[in-house]
Symmetry: C2
Subunit: 582 residues, 2 copies
C-alpha cells in the first residue's frame, strides 16, 4: 500500500507524524473536561437505551480509540448520544424485556450491524444516502425525540411508574401516577435538575465574577454535571436513601469490559437491520454536521466518506466490548473543541479517562440515584428541542414544514422509526410533487433588445408564427409528462403557430424520460404542422443529447440564443422589435 493510501485509510498516520508535546498537552486538558462530562452522560444514555448503566462506560472506551484511528475530525467526541440511545431502545424493546441478557446481546448485534452498514456505505461510496434525510426532517426528528426522551425520564425524577407506547400515553401515565410521587427521589431529582440547569446557564458567569479567567471558567463549569452526581451520591450514602426507596444504580462490576461477541443470529440480525440502517444514517448526519462546523472554524476539513469508516469502526468496537450504538455527540464535541482538543488523540485520552473511572471509581456508582441520571438526560435533550424551527420553516417553505411536522408527529405519536420514515417519504414525495410542475413561461422579445422575457410580466413582442417557451427546471422523469401536457395546452390555445422554440438556459439535465417526452412533443407538434426547435442548451446537456439520435431525427435546429432563433424563423417581427424602443 502506498503511503498516501495508508493515510487515506488511517488518517492518524498523517497527524501522528506531526504530533508533539504541545498538542498532547492541549488534547489531555480537553480529554479531562470531556471525561468528566461523559461519565454521567454515558451512564444516563445507557439507562435511556434500556441497558445497565455500566455499558455506557464500556461504549466510551474502545469506540473512541477506533475513531481516533480512522476518523478525520479533530474535535468530534464519539460515544453514546441521546437520540441514538432512544433509537436503540425503540428497536430492542419490542423484542426483549429491557436489561435482560437477550436485550444486552441484541444491543451488541445492533451496534455491529450499524458499524457494518457504515463501513459498507463507505466502501460503496454511498454517503450521499444521508441526503435522503433533509434538514427539516432531521431537525423535526431531533426536537421530537428530545421531547419524547424528556417525557420518558419524568418518572425517574419523581420515582413513579409512567411509561407508554407514545408521548401522549407517557404523559398521561405520569399524570395518573403523580400522587404516588416518592418524596426523597423527587427532592433529589428536582435538585439535580436545578443544579444542572444552573451549571449549564449560570455557572460560568459566576466563576468569572469570582475572578476566574474566561477559558478556565468555561472548563470548570463543564464539571457541573459530575459535581452534581457526586453530591447526589454523597446525599444517598449519608442519609442511606437507598434503603428509603430511592432507586440507585446498584453494584457496578469494576474493571474494563470483557471482550464480547454479538450472537450470530441471522434472523435477529434481519429484524434489526432497518433500525441499524436508520441509526447509522441519523448518527452519520449528526456527526458530519457538527464535525464540519467545528472543522470550518479552524479552516480544516473533514472527509465525509472517511467519517463513515471512523463511525463504522467505532460501532464495531462497541459491539466487541460490551457497548451499544454510538456516534459523534453534538454538545460533547463542542465542549471538546472549546476545551482545545487539537487532534483525534483527545478521544484516545478520553477513553483512558473512562478506563481509569471503570478501574477505580465504580464503587461510587452503587449509590448513584437514577434520578440524577434522568436529570442529566433531560437537561441535555431539552437543549436539542427547537420548536421555533417549525414556524421558521413554515414561513420559508410549506413543503419543508410539512415534512418536519410529519416527522415530529410520527415520532411523538407512533415512534422514532415511524417518524423518520414518514418524514423521509413525505419529503421525497413533496419534492417530486414540487419539481413535477416546473415553471414554464411563454416569452417574447423586449423591444429594442435581444432579450426574451415572460409575456405575463413584461411588455414584449410575440411572433405570430413562432412560439417561444422557456422552462425553468431540469427535464427529468418527475416533470417529463407535465412538459408534454403544458406544451399541448400552449399550442392548443393558439392558431397560426409554425415553430415552437424551447429555451433551455435553466435545464441542467435531460434524462431518458425527458428525452422520450421531447420526442413525443416533437412528433405531436409535427402532426399539428409545427416544427420544434431548441435554444440556449447548455454544453453538458448538448453533449448528452448527441449520444442519442434525437438531434438528427427531430428535424429542428438548436440555436445558441433565443434571439438567433427568432431572427432565423421570423426575421420580420424580430427586426421590427429591435427597432422598437425599450
Amino acid at each position: 500500500m502506498t503511503e498516501s493510501g495508508l493515510e487515506r485509510l488511517l488518517p492518524c498516520a498523517s497527524w501522528l507524524k506531526r504530533y508533539d508535546r504541545n498538542a498532547a498537552r492541549e488534547d489531555v486538558l480537553a480529554a479531562i473536561i470531556v471525561t468528566l462530562m461523559l461519565i454521567p452522560q454515558s451512564l444516563a444514555y445507557a439507562m435511556l437505551a434500556g441497558l445497565p448503566p455500566v455499558t455506557g462506560l464500556y461504549a466510551s472506551i474502545l469506540p473512541l480509540l477506533a475513531y481516533t484511528l480512522f476518523g478525520t475530525s479533530s474535535a468530534l467526541a464519539v460515544g453514546p448520544v441521546a437520540v441514538v440511545s432512544l433509537m436503540t431502545a425503540a428497536a430492542l424493546e419490542p423484542l426483549f424485556p429491557a436489561g435482560t441478557p437477550e436485550y444486552v446481546a441484541a444491543a451488541l448485534l445492533l451496534a455491529l450491524l450499524s458499524g457494518l452498514v457504515l463501513v459498507l456505505m463507505a466502501a460503496l461510496r454511498l454517503g450521499f444516502i444521508a441526503n435522503f434525510l433533509s434538514r427539516p426532517v432531521v431537525s423535526g426528528f431531533i426536537s421530537a425525540s428530545g421531547i419524547l426522551i424528556a417525557l420518558s425520564q419524568i418518572r425517574h425524577i419523581l420515582g413513579i411508574r409512567g411509561s407508554g407506547e407514545n408521548a401522549i400515553e407517557t404523559l398521561l401515565a405520569v399524570v395518573r401516577n403523580l400522587e404516588a410521587t416518592h418524596l426523597p427521589t423527587a427532592v433529589i431529582g428536582t435538585a439535580s435538575l436545578l443544579l444542572l440547569y444552573l451549571a449549564r446557564t449560570r455557572l460560568k458567569g459566576w466563576l468569572q465574577r469570582l475572578g476566574i479567567g474566561n477559558g478556565m471558567a468555561g472548563n470548570l463549569s463543564k464539571t457541573g454535571p459530575v459535581v452534581t452526581l457526586l453530591l447526589a451520591v454523597l446525599a444517598v450514602t449519608i442519609f442511606d436513601l437507598a434503603a428509603a426507596g430511592v432507586a440507585v444504580v446498584g453494584a457496578v462490576p469494576a474493571g474494563l469490559p470483557a471482550p464480547t461477541l454479538p450472537a450470530p443470529d441471522a434472523e435477529l440480525a434481519l429484524t434489526l437491520l432497518p433500525a441499524a440502517l436508520l441509526i447509522s444514517l441519523v448518527g452519520f448526519v449528526e456527526s458530519v454536521s457538527v464535525g464540519q462546523t467545528l472543522a470550518a472554524k479552524r479552516r480544516e476539513r473533514i472527509e465525509p466518506n472517511q467519517e463513515l469508516v471512523g463511525l463504522g469502526a467505532a460501532n464495531v468496537a462497541a459491539a466487541v466490548s460490551g457497548g451499544f450504538p454510538v456516534t459523534g455527540g453534538f454538545a460533547r464535541s463542542v465542549v471538546n473543541f472549546d476545551a482545545g482538543a487539537r487532534t483525534p488523540m483527545a478521544g484516545a485520552f478520553t477513553a483512558i479517562g473512562i478506563g481509569l473511572t471503570l478501574a477505580l471509581f465504580t464503587p461510587l456508582f452503587r449509590n448513584l440515584p437514577q434520578a440524577v441520571l434522568a436529570a442529566t438526560i433531560i437537561v441535555a435533550v431539552l437543549s436539542l428541542v427547537d420548536l421555533g424551527a417549525l414556524a421558521r420553516t413554515w414561513r420559508y417553505s410549506r413543503p419543508d414544514a410539512l415534512a418536519m411536522a410529519a416527522t415530529m408527529l410520527g415520532v411523538l405519536l407512533v415512534g422514532v422509526e415511524a417518524g423518520i420514515v414518514c418524514g423521509v417519504v413525505l419529503s421525497l414525495f413533496l419534492f417530486l410533487k414540487r419539481t413535477s410542475e416546473p415553471h414554464v413561461a411563454v416569452v417574447g422579445q423586449l423591444p429594442g433588445s435581444e432579450h426574451f422575457r415572460n409575456v405575463l410580466r413584461y411588455q414584449v413582442v410575440e411572433s405570430p408564427t413562432v412560439l417561444s417557451v422557456r422552462v425553468d427546471e431540469s427535464l427529468y422523469f418527475p416533470n417529463a409528462r407535465y412538459l408534454e401536457d403544458k406544451i399541448a395546452e400552449l399550442v392548443g390555445s393558439r392558431t397560426g403557430v409554425r415553430h415552437l422554440v424551447l429555451m433551455c438556459p435553466a435545464v441542467n439535465l435531460i434524462d431518458a424520460s425527458a428525452l422520450e417526452s421531447l420526442e413525443a412533443i416533437c412528433e405531436r407538434l409535427h402532426a399539428a404542422g409545427i416544427q420544434f426547435h431548441l435554444s440556449e442548451v447548455k454544453g453538458p446537456v448538448m453533449d448528452q443529447l448527441r449520444k442519442s439520435d434525437f438531434l438528427e431525427r427531430f428535424g429542428g435546429l438548436v440555436f445558441t440564443s433565443q434571439y438567433q432563433a427568432l431572427l432565423a424563423l421570423d426575421p420580420q417581427t424580430t427586426l421590427r422589435a429591435m427597432e422598437g424602443t425599450r
Copy 2:
C-alpha cells in the same frame, strides 16, 4: 352545479351536444373493427389473468360505457390488456387457486380497489404520482412482462404442462416437458401463430395488391384474429378435436353478466391494496401515453386528471359486472383511431358489439381451442417487447439504463410487482445520487468582457481576493451538504481570499435544507475571515429568500450580475481585465 362543472365531471355532456349522424357513422365503423379485435383478446387476457374466458367479455361492456361517460380521449379503447392481466394473475395466484370462485371474487375486489385508487388520486389531484414511474422503468416493465407472458403461453400452444415461479423456471419446465407435446394442439397452436403473424404483418399488403383500398385493407386485416379464431373453432368441431384432447374453452354461459358485488373482505382488501396501487399506476401511465399521442394527432387534448376518473369508473364498473382490472390498451386504441373513431361513443358501440356477442355467439366458444387464445396473446405481447430500448438508453444515460435493467431482471426473475418496485426505487435512488453532486465551477472573467466562465475551460482572469463559484443546479436537500463540502474544499485550497460570490443563474429553487447549508457555509466562511455574497439570483428564488432572515443575517450582498459583484469587491482586477483583449 354549473354547466361547466358538469362538463368537467362528465365530459360526454360536452361532446354529446355536437354529436351527429356523421360522427355516429364513423364511430360505429370503428367499433365494429375494435369489437372483432377485442373478442379474441378479451377471452385470451381473461385466461392470462387466470379467470374463465367469459369474464374477459364481461370486462368489455360496462367498463367501456363508464369510460364513455367519464373519459376525455376520443380514441382510447378501454378493456382487458395483457400487462394488467398479468399483474392481476400475479396478485391473485399466491392467494387462491386460479379459476376458483374465491379467485374470481378476489379479481372483482382488485378491480374495485384499482377503481377507487384511481378516483381517489383524481380527487386529491395526485396524478403526478404516475411520474414516479420513469419511462425506462415503464419500458423495461412492459418488455419484460411481454417476455414473461409469451413464455407462460408456450405450454398452451404445445398442450403441455410448463409453468414456474419465474421466467427461467417456466422456460425450463417447458423444455423438460417438450416430449409430451400434444400433436393436434401443437398443430392448431403453431398454425394460429403463423396465421396471426401473417395477418399482422402481411395481410394488409396482400389485400391492397388485390385492388382493395388502403383504408379498407387496413380494416379488413384487423379481422385476421377473429377469422383465425373461427377457423380453429371450425377445425375442432369438424374433426372433433376436443375428444382428441385439445383443450377448449368449453361451455360459456350466454347472456349479459349478472350484477356482482365484490366481497367486503377488509383483510383481503388490505392484502390486495399494493397490487391495486401498482395496477392503477401502470394502467394510468399506459392509457395516458397512448391517449396523449392520439389526441395530439388531431390537435385535441386529454385531461390527465379526468382520465383518472374515467379509468377509475371503468374499473369500478368492471367490479360490479363480473370483470377484472381494465385500462386503455395500446394496440386497440391505435386501431380505434385508425378506423376513424371520432368520440368516446365508439367505446359504447364496442360495448354493444360485445354484448351482442355474449347474447348470440357464446355457443361458438365451446369448441374454441385455448391454443388459439395463447397464440393471440403471444403475437400481441411480442409486439410490446423492445429489447433495443435497453441499448439505446444505455448509450444515452447509464442511470436510466440501470433502472430499466433492474426492472426487467426483477420482473423476469422475481415477479411483476417486485420488478416495478425495484425499478422505481432504483430510479429514485440514482436520481438523488445524480443531483446530489451538482456541477460546481470556479469562474473567472473573460478578458475584455463582462462574462464569467469556468476557469478550467477558458482563459479567464481570476481575482486574488474574490472567489467566484457557479453552481449549475437547484439547491435542495439532495445536494445541500455537497455544496457545503465543495465550498470548504475550494476555500481550503486557496489563500488570500476575502470574498466568495456564489453565482446562481441555474438555481431554480433553494429549499429549507439548502437555506441551512447556505447559513452554515456563511458561518464557516466568516469563521475563516471570508465574506459570502450571492449573484444572479432568480426572481422567485429571491422572493423566497426574503421570507427568511437569511438576507439580513448573512452580512453579504446580492449582486444582479457577477460582473457587478467583482466591480464592487475587486475593482482593480476587474477593470484591468476589462481592458484586456478577448
